[in-house]
Each structure stands twice: as C-alpha cells, then as structure tokens.
C-alpha cells in the first residue's frame, strides 16, 4: 500500500430529480491513495456521505473496465477526464495532484436530460439504434459464419466503428451536443459489411431522422468527439454517414419513397 495519501476538493453537480434545479456542491475528500480509481474515490466519498446522513452522489457505472459504456461524466471540463482513449472508470487519482480541485459535471445535452446528479438519460441513443441500427437475417437454419466473403480492410474498418460503446462522450464533448459520431459509427459499421447493404438507404435516412428528432445539434467538424471518444473512433465515420445520406437521397430508395413504409 502506498503511504502517499492525497486530499482533494470536489466540486460536484447535485440535482435531486429531473424537475428540480441543480447546483454545484463542494466536498473535501481526504486520505485517498493515488492508486484509487476515480469512481472508487466517489465510492469512498459516498460512504462518508451516507454516514453523515447526506444523500450519496448518484453516478452510472457497471463494468469498471472501459468496455460497457455505462460510466461517464465531465471531469475538469473533459469528457471521461484527462486521459485519452479512456472511460471515466479508467481514470486514476494519480492523474490529479494532491490538493487539486476537481470539477465533476454530468453530460449536458437536451437529448440527455439529467435524471439525478451525474446520471443522465441516454435512451435517445437507443431510439437512434432502433430506428435502423440492425440488419435483417434469415431465421431458418444456421448459416456458415464464413460463407460470405468480406475483404479484410473492410472488416477491420467496420470493427473499428463497431467498438463504439455508446457512452455519449461524443455528445458531451461536442460544442453543439451533436450525436454525429455515435450515429455515424453505427451507420458506417453496417455500410461496410455486405450484410448491412440491404437496408442501406433506409437505415441512414431513419437514423439521421431520429438523431434530429431527439434534439441533438449538428456537426461543425470540430473533432472534439474523436479526441474524447474512449475508443478513438475517427470522424471519418461522420463523413461516411454524410456520403451515405447523400447517396440515399440521390438513389430514391429512401424510407419516404417506400410504398409499404416498412423496413
């Protein structure tokens, strides 16, 4: 065990319910080992708060190893904190100096309303996915997984886009609260694969529609999403989404022209 124990001043957003007006509260957290993770530090603080009969700070977390996308908050003005290609749970207190003031805020977007403290409602992402982020498959006999030939570079690129964990850091970091990187990555991963070609035009139209309906902002190509993405997904996904949208509009095989209206 390290003897180097550190003290921090936390400035955290507290909001009891979606309806209530929130505000920042200050908490002194002393005796923290630098090997403590950021979320463990919040756990320690919460233990102390509970003992003092104060409502603990609500935050999302699940796997705590950077693969589930549940955690996420703005730490000192940066989505997922100071480290690149890392989630909030992968931040350790050694990233902060002894005596530092750490400001913690929830993701801010109209489409991500605050539920409580640092917890936001990201179901808008789910609705974008259900609008078109899937493929149709035959439900009969199991097909051989390798029956369809896919060029290795396409498979690799699709996989890079598919690493998106839907944490929402792209929206949080974007000055316009745009969900273009998330939506772009989801569209691109299907577009590159032969299995995704069937619903290609309808998919991009429906997913972009849903993205706009949820109240996300537009993309001004600032690139802050790419820098904040814990998986390092490239903004080339956004360019792909735009190219797909243009192609779909020109092809005429879009949702609005479909006679049955079904996908």
């Amino acid at each position: 065990m390290s003897k180097d124990l550190r003290n921090y001043k936390l400035v955290i957003w507290r909001q009891a319910s979606p309806q209530e007006k929130g505000g920042f509260e200050q908490y002194q957290v002393d005796g923290i080992s630098p090997d403590t993770s950021f979320l463990e530090m919040l756990d320690i603080l919460n233990d102390r708060l509970i003992k003092q009969n104060i409502r603990p700070i609500e935050f999302d977390s699940d796997c705590r190893e950077g693969i589930c996308g549940a955690c996420g908050c703005l730490v000192n003005g940066q989505a997922h904190g100071p480290r690149q290609k890392a989630t909030t749970c992968q931040i350790y207190m050694r990233s902060f100096e002894n005596g530092d003031t750490i400001t913690v805020e929830p993701w801010r977007a109209k489409a991500f309303p605050v539920i409580r403290d640092l917890v936001v409602d990201r179901s808008s992402f789910d609705r974008i996915i259900s609008a078109g982020g899937y493929i149709s498959v035959k439900s009969a006999k199991h097909a051989d997984a390798n029956a369809m030939l896919i060029p290795k570079p396409d498979a690799d690129q699709a996989f890079d886009y598919a690493t998106c964990i839907g944490c929402g850091a792209c929206v949080a970091a974007c000055p316009n609260a745009s969900a273009s990187l998330f939506t772009g990555a989801k569209i691109s991963q299907f577009t590159l694969m032969p299995q995704g070609r069937v619903e290609r035009e309808k998919r991009v139209e429906r997913m972009v529609d849903q993205m706009d309906r949820e109240g996300f902002g537009g993309c001004t190509n600032i690139g802050e999403c790419e820098a904040s993405c814990p998986k390092g997904i490239s903004i080339s996904a956004i360019a792909t989404m735009k190219a797909e949208y243009l192609k779909a509009a020109l092809s005429g095989r879009t949702e609005s022209n479909a006679s049955d209206g079904a996908m």
Binding site: V11, F24, L74, N76, G77, Q78, A79, Q84, T103, E105, R108, A109, K110, A111, A173, P175, N176, A177, S178, S180, E205, V208, D209, M211, D212, G215, F216, G217, G218, C219, T220, N221, I222, G223, E224, E226, A227, S228, S234, I235, S236, I238, A239, T240, M241, K242, A243, E244, Y245, L246, A249, G252, T254, S256, N257
Partner: protein
C-alpha cells in the same frame, strides 16, 4: 419530392448546402482575386479594361450577381438555422470545458459564426462602397477603346488612401482567412467526400488556400496606400 425537403431540413442535409455553397463562394473568391491582382499593376489601365470586359457581358452580369446573391443568402440563412439548433441542443452550459486536444478544435473552427457575421457586415459595406460607389456620372470615367467606361481603379485607389479603410480591409481579410481555414476542409467533410487518407491533405490545402487568398486580398490596400506600385 420528399428527399429534397429533407435535404433542406435535416442537420446533415443543411450541412450539404453549407458545404456546397461555401465551396462555390471560394470559387467566386478566386475569380474576384484574379481581377483584383491587376490592382497591383503600375497603372489602372488593365484593371479598368477587365472591369469593362465584365460589364460588356450585359444582362448576364445581373444574372451572375443574382446567382451570387443566392449563394450568399443560402449560406447565411442555413447557417443561422443550424446555429440556432446547436444552441437549443445544449440549453445548460458546462461550468468548465477543456479541449482534449484535436487540430480541428481551434479559434477558427469555434468562431465560424463570429467571423461569418463580420464578413457579412463587411460584404454589405464593400458592395455599397464599390459596386454602388461613384461612377461615370460622378466624373469617375475613363475612355477605353473609344468608349467611356467607369474608372473603378480611381474609386478603389482613392478609398485606400484613407487609412481607416486600409485598416478595416486588412482586418477583415484576416477574418476571411480564419473562416476559410476551417471552412474549406469542413465543406469536404460535410459533403462526405473525405477518406481519412486525404483528410489531412485537404486540411493542409485549406490552410494554404486561406493564407494565399487572404494575403492576396489583404496586401491590395497596403500596396495602394503606400503606393508600392510606383517603384515598379
């Protein structure tokens, strides 16, 4: 057709309009500077001749002006609707916001609306000053090939003997450079034609283009004010 309506309303579609109109306006700037480079000549003959040649197109000039006005209008109107959407998308701002480090997040990219508004105000002033400025009836005339033409060269050189106009034009051209620095690359990204391989090339090209265009326009008032052409 519904797809056209969508292209005009979706965030993605509106960025197509921004990108396409922006690139066409860059094309216009090249045509503009091609003529303006003649202002660097020792006398106004070649510049006035070029202006006269343009006006010899007759009513086609008005058609071109109308097209140009439509380009500017679409670029500006769509930008306003997009900007409003961006603001609505984040009603509560952050207490702290720090970049995580990306080349595209810079003062040029963050202030496109500000530089755009400055350019719009400048554009109005610029058109009033030169397009609708003094002409033949005010005595600004010159005879080219036996025909009386407007002496636009004199209008320009007289304007740039005023240090206030020189300072204003130089400053605005810096904002133009800033607007193009992000805008050129951003247009390609918005039109979805950027593969990661060429993205960096286009971004670098955007810098060169912004630099060259801004510099070429920027030195005209300085050139005229200090009469640097006299030494040629």
């Amino acid at each position: 057709m519904l797809t056209v309506r969508k292209a005009l309303t979706s965030t993605v579609g509106r960025k197509f309009i921004m990108g396409a109109s922006g690139l066409l306006l860059v094309g216009f700037l090249f045509v503009h500077i091609a003529t303006n480079l003649l202002l660097y000549a020792k006398t106004g003959e070649s510049f006035n001749a070029a202006v006269a040649r343009l006006w010899s197109l007759g009513s086609l000039v008005y058609l071109l002006e109308l097209g140009l006005a439509a380009l500017f209008a679409s670029h500006i109107v769509v930008a306003i609707t997009l900007k409003r959407g961006h603001r609505e998308a984040r009603p509560d701002s952050y207490r702290m916001s720090v970049s995580k480090g990306t080349v595209h997040n810079n003062p040029a990219s963050r202030n496109m609306a500000v530089t755009g508004i400055i350019l719009l105000v400048f554009l109005i002033l610029h058109i009033l000053q030169f397009r609708f400025g003094p002409g033949i009836s005010e005595g600004y005339s010159v005879v080219i090939n036996g025909k009386t033409e407007r002496d636009l060269y004199r209008v320009v050189t007289e304007a740039f003997k005023n240090p206030i106009y020189v300072a204003l034009y130089v400053a605005v051209m810096l904002f133009l450079g800033s607007h193009l620095r992000h805008g050129f690359w951003s247009a390609f990204q918005s039109l979805g034609v950027l593969a990661p391989r060429i993205s960096k090339v286009i971004y670098a090209l955007g810098f060169c283009l912004a630099f060259v265009l801004a510099a070429a326009f920027l030195f005209i008032p300085i050139w005229i004010y200090f009469d640097l052409g006299a030494g040629l």
